[in-house]
């Protein structure tokens, strides 16, 4: 992939004092916060090449926030904004311990990718926000599943009455549906999303069908969907809707 650096970042890099010089460190101490995150990643990677940890610390603080705790109203760093946005998406802010674990793992993942260098992870200099967002999603998914503590299907009561398939789900808001599906065990969630949200057929020989996308037999997919239905029926939003209908 050709590295397409954002124009602002390219202009900033062109005017930076020489990496490793005292002027460069002083410049970053004064103006680092105003630089694009892609520029800061470029600086950190250049500092790694000359093993200048002072420069990494200065640019790293501006990128990820390692200075004073953010006071209300103060400007957060580029990384903080992204990690916080993903944390909210997973619902982690309601649990201080899981939020701290997520924050730590996201930052470690970010540093691992930044230190891996331009050859291995060039896209961190093309769009830092998006690259970190993807990393945070990766970090957050297993934490979310552990946090939500999946229950075994045996302990979920069998379905009685109305079907909890596409018809019931279609009456819920998109975000509510997505959140409910994301709480399912992985394979059930994939099948539910592909069938009920994306509207793909299960049994069709078509390459776009659920069984072909998941590379499972139609019977296995139906089993997954059946278990997903049982679990979804326990979701408060779905239960309210079924009881009201």
């Amino acid at each position: 992939m050709q590295l397409e650096r954002p124009p602002k970042s390219a202009a900033e890099i062109a005017t930076l004092p020489a990496i490793g010089s005292t002027e460069c460190t002083q410049f970053l101490r004064g103006a680092g916060r105003s630089l694009d995150p892609e520029t800061l990643v470029w600086v950190i990677r250049a500092a790694v090449e000359i093993r200048n940890t002072e420069l990494i610390e200065v640019a790293g603080s501006d990128l990820a926030g390692a200075g004073e705790p953010a006071a209300p109203g103060s400007r957060r760093t580029h990384a903080e904004k992204v990690i916080w946005a993903v944390a909210r998406r997973f619902g982690f802010p309601s649990d201080a311990a899981i939020l701290a674990e997520f924050w730590r793992a996201s930052l470690d993942g970010m540093w691992d990718a930044v230190l891996a260098g331009r050859d291995q992870k060039p896209f961190w200099e093309a769009n830092f926000g998006q690259a970190l967002y993807a990393k945070c999603l990766d970090v957050g998914r297993p934490l979310f599943r552990r946090w939500k503590r999946e229950v075994s299907i045996e302990s979920v009561p069998p379905l009685r009455g109305g079907d909890v398939g596409g018809e019931i789900l279609s009456r819920l808001g998109e975000q509510v549906i997505l959140q409910a599906i994301r709480r399912l065990p992985p394979q059930e969630a994939h099948a539910a999303m592909l069938h009920w949200v994306d509207g793909r057929p299960v049994d069709s020989p078509d390459p776009d069908s659920v069984r072909n996308v998941m590379r499972l037999s139609a019977r296995q997919v139906h089993n997954l969907l059946s278990n997903a239905q049982r679990r979804l029926a326990q979701e408060p939003a779905v239960r309210d809707l079924r009881e009201a209908s």
């Binding site: 924050w103 690259a131 065990p185």
Partner: protein, 299 residues
């Protein structure tokens, strides 16, 4: 060459964020080796919907975490990547653990005694090939520890004769009796002192390995994870696993001090405590990874 999964996810997220429809079927068709991972990522990568503007966290503890991460990044630049990697590996471990739990629900097929030596040779050679794809050299120690950890992850019932040796769990029979001699004879591997290389006929192994590894995808994910570790880290991981399995407490409540005390009492392994890869921090990192991988369950 397989495209970097992080880059694939980055591109997928870019399309989602632009509000365009992602045809996930075409993505898994292009990258079938990442099928499950891409489907799971896609669940979360769909358009955000809600606004991400939110109040600042304003938490001192999060600033402490950021400061700590920055310090470890600086140490990683000066002293080596393992200063950052254990925690990153832990996150990968959690992903694998979920799939392992699913696999363990299935009853493994039994291995006929007459085929056991052959199967051990296949898996042993396959492990060497996978390690060689990541590591510059593949030591016998790395191979032995990886097969030990694979056995305990996938319940293969193939490498269950490890014994306690000075450098951790070791399979004497694999070295002298079956796996290694057979694999060398069939030219699946080459033995160069204590280093093992991929042999000219290694391709033959792929066909059989798929049958004997229960889940080739999981075996691959685990081996790639272990391949990133140094020999010292693998020794620590396998030794802590051996000790942890024999402590009579639930895996979540095992603390590094318990493992260190058990090692101290063990005349054969107490000397390990003088080595840096058995420091409190290194044992703690190994424990976190084993717990994340759900590997400390009692057999």
């Amino acid at each position: 060459m397989t495209k970097d999964i992080d880059r694939i996810k980055f591109e997928l997220l870019n399309i989602c964020e632009r509000g365009a429809t992602v045809d996930i079927a075409s993505w898994v068709e292009r990258f079938p080796e990442h099928r499950e991972e891409l489907l799971d990522f896609w669940l979360w990568a769909r358009p955000r919907g809600e606004s991400d503007e939110s109040p600042p966290p304003g938490s001192a503890s999060l600033a402490d975490i950021a400061r700590d991460a920055l310090q470890r990044a600086c140490l990683a630049v000066s002293l080596g990547s393992e200063w950052l990697k254990p925690l990153v590996l832990e996150a990968e471990g959690h992903q694998i653990a979920g799939q392992l739990q699913e696999l363990r629900k299935q009853v493994p097929s039994s291995t006929p005694t007459s085929r056991r030596a052959f199967r051990r040779a296949v898996v042993y050679a396959w492990v060497i090939e996978q390690l060689a794809a990541v590591r510059v050299t593949v030591s016998r120690l790395a191979t032995q520890k990886t097969t030990y950890l694979l056995e305990n992850s996938l319940r293969l019932h193939l490498f269950d004769s490890h014994q306690k040796k000075p450098l951790g769990p070791y399979d004497h029979f694999a070295r002298y009796r079956d796996a290694e001699p057979i694999a060398a004879r069939k030219r699946w591997i080459r033995i160069v002192g204590s280093t093992l290389e991929v042999g000219e006929q290694a391709r033959e192994v792929q066909l059989y390995a798929r049958r004997y590894l229960r889940s080739i995808e999981l075996a691959l994910a685990l081996t790639q994870l272990f391949a990133k570790l140094t020999d010292d880290q693998l020794e620590t991981l396998a030794t802590v696993h051996w000790v942890g399995c024999r402590l009579s407490v639930a895996d979540q409540s095992i603390a590094p001090t318990m493992v260190l005390e058990a090692l101290q009492k063990d005349t054969e392994w107490s000397a390990k405590l003088k080595r840096t890869n058995f420091s409190y921090e290194k044992v703690g990192a190994a424990l976190r990874m084993l717990i994340a991988l759900d590997l400390l369950r009692k057999p």
